[in-house]
Subunit: 360 residues, 2 copies
């Protein structure tokens, strides 16, 4: 009996050690912060320092601060990885999971493949969050990629590891960079978690870093956005540029927009994607008419512009998120399943163009 | 100039008429409420009247009240459809969209196919919600299927239509009924909207009503759940019964559970699904061990039980939500993409069994 009690006590201790070893915390900004277009002095996780662009839209300025597609690269021999982080006081969106809005998403390299390891779930009522992402891991060093939230500022972030473990920055796994400007679809609405936004998925699957510049509802071919792209060095540029503007905005702005970006980087490919057919148009006749007019305008004008500039490409498709109308959460924003179809539609065509420029 | 102003005024009027016609509201419970197992006198949208079952788990009693998979059948010639509804005061979950938790999801028949028409988005701060689901529809009668929220009680629901439109109940489109008992996965976590839970998707695609009895975290082969199934008439029974219980619970309860349900409906097929491999186990060695032990126990015991009872079937698979670990929001709960793989894995096998019983 005594022996059984002793074994039980030992087992409990081992279990406690494997799940609840004291953690020490490291400021994530001291590791390798990747996925930013223009780092800011104000906050290490802002995607873009918006100073000097004079954006007319308050939303664009705010979205520059959201770490969409930003990820922390590090390695550790810890058996458990946790996080403590703070986000800004903001309203929740209703068409995305709280995890994608304010949570964290960890990938670990396994047999050469970046593999989902766990999420850090946010508090629903507080702006200070704490969560154990993964525990009970085997001994040995883990290469880690931790994605940040897509719909809130991160004001601070600490990564927790076992008290006796080491952690240090590792380089980005990506050699080439494709800046991706776009609408809410690029911004990530409505992927399930931060690592499932289409730019992050395409990065992991191709080994090319698709850096995220999605500005939900506000990507309307503005000259300020053209200037941001013109100022930003990358190996290629991808545009989901026609999901937010009106037909008139496309007609009056697209030529200038394309000229600015194409002439700023004349040797780099500029790939423009047709806008998706919104499922909210299946029964809404006004939306259906707008869908058709907008897509026809894009087709007409982009076909001309792609002829005019050697480095401008226009990709067209009628079946971007499938034909069963089941690929979105709300008629507009793809779910992971919708993004899967989006990637299936575009990625082979994008890769073909990038390959011509040696980007592979 | 005057003429232009007149045309603009006319256009504005036409636009206002098409988008903002006054709506009248109809109590949804006076239409055809489908998808319930045991209607309750207390509330027309409860899935199950839990009285008399003496459930030990408070969560099961509460979940009986959530209208998971419940849908309203009606037809209307309205050009717009809206909803006013109230839900109970509850905390938000962080691994599902607010739309799936408290929103509504409308399908309309189009060329013989139930087709997504729009969602009603819930308020994030109030329990009273109002939303226009779809507008600007063409003239003519629309057959409608409106799915209710999966993670809250619906205390009242009114459907809004044009002031001059008619609305009336229509029958269920489904002839056969398959009661589906299960875990959070059956409960719908983490589909993007109420119409994307796997039971609803399988119903629309097969024409067989997969009635939802998912009880998140609490479906553990309890005798009370066996009795609920024994008491409930259907054409077949489907069980996602091994995602919540421990190995010990399976070992001690499964034989009694299967006996109770198989003997209550000896001529009806009882289809038991293997539990999914949790992606949280990819790096968590303790979870991986539990995954393996639990699945091996299920395989061993269910293979025997399927031999013992003519009407008991056990379906096994190693690749339930794919092998890339990208099918869940949190390592446990499938997204729409994960559910797509879940359905691809199981539905052909389920249909094959149902067909033997003339259910097709």
């Amino acid at each position: 009996m005594k022996k059984i009690r002793f074994i039980a006590a030992m087992a409990a201790m081992v279990m406690a050690a494997s799940t609840a070893m004291a953690q020490k915390y490291v400021d994530a900004s001291t590791l390798n912060v990747q996925g930013r277009t223009k780092p800011s002095q104000e906050n290490p996780y802002f995607r873009v320092d918006s100073e000097g662009y004079d954006f007319a839209e308050e939303h664009i300025v705010r979205y520059c601060r959201y770490p969409v597609g930003v990820y922390i690269m590090f390695k550790t021999d810890s058996h458990a990885i946790s996080a403590k982080w703070t986000t800004a006081k903001r309203a929740w969106g209703n068409n995305m999971t709280p995890i994608v809005q304010r949570g964290l998403d960890l990938y670990i390299k396994k047999d050469g493949v970046w593999t989902f390891a766990g999420v850090a779930r946010p508090s629903m009522t507080k702006d200070v969050h704490k969560y154990t992402i993964v525990k009970n891991m085997a001994d040995g060093e883990k290469e880690c990629m931790l994605y940040l939230p897509i719909w809130n500022e991160v004001e601070s972030l600490e990564i927790g590891i076992d008290d006796d473990a080491a952690i240090e920055a590792i380089p980005s796994p990506y050699k080439y960079k494709v800046l991706t400007l776009g609408s809410s679809i690029t911004h990530g609405a409505s992927a399930s978690r931060p690592g499932m936004i289409f730019t992050a998925r395409m990065s992991r699957s191709t080994g090319i870093d698709f850096v995220n510049l999605g500005f939900s509802g506000n990507c309307k071919l503005q000259p300020q956005l053209a200037r941001l792209i013109a100022d930003s060095e990358a190996d290629a540029y991808l545009f989901d540029a026609f999901s937010n503007p009106s037909v008139k905005e496309i007609e009056t702005r697209v030529a200038d927009f394309v000229r600015t970006v194409a002439e700023a980087h004349p040797d780099k490919p500029m790939i423009f994607l047709q806008t998706t057919i919104r499922d909210q148009a299946t029964f809404d006749t006004k939306w259906a008419k707008f869908n058709d007019e907008r897509r026809a305008t894009v087709r007409r004008m982009m076909t001309e512009l792609a002829k005019k500039y050697d480095n401008v490409y226009f990709l067209d498709s009628d079946t971007i998120t499938g034909t069963d109308h089941e690929g979105t959460v709300d008629g507009a924003h793809p779910t992971d399943m919708g993004f899967n179809r989006f990637i299936d539609t575009w990625l082979p065509k994008i890769e073909k163009i990038l390959k011509k420029y040696g980007i592979k």
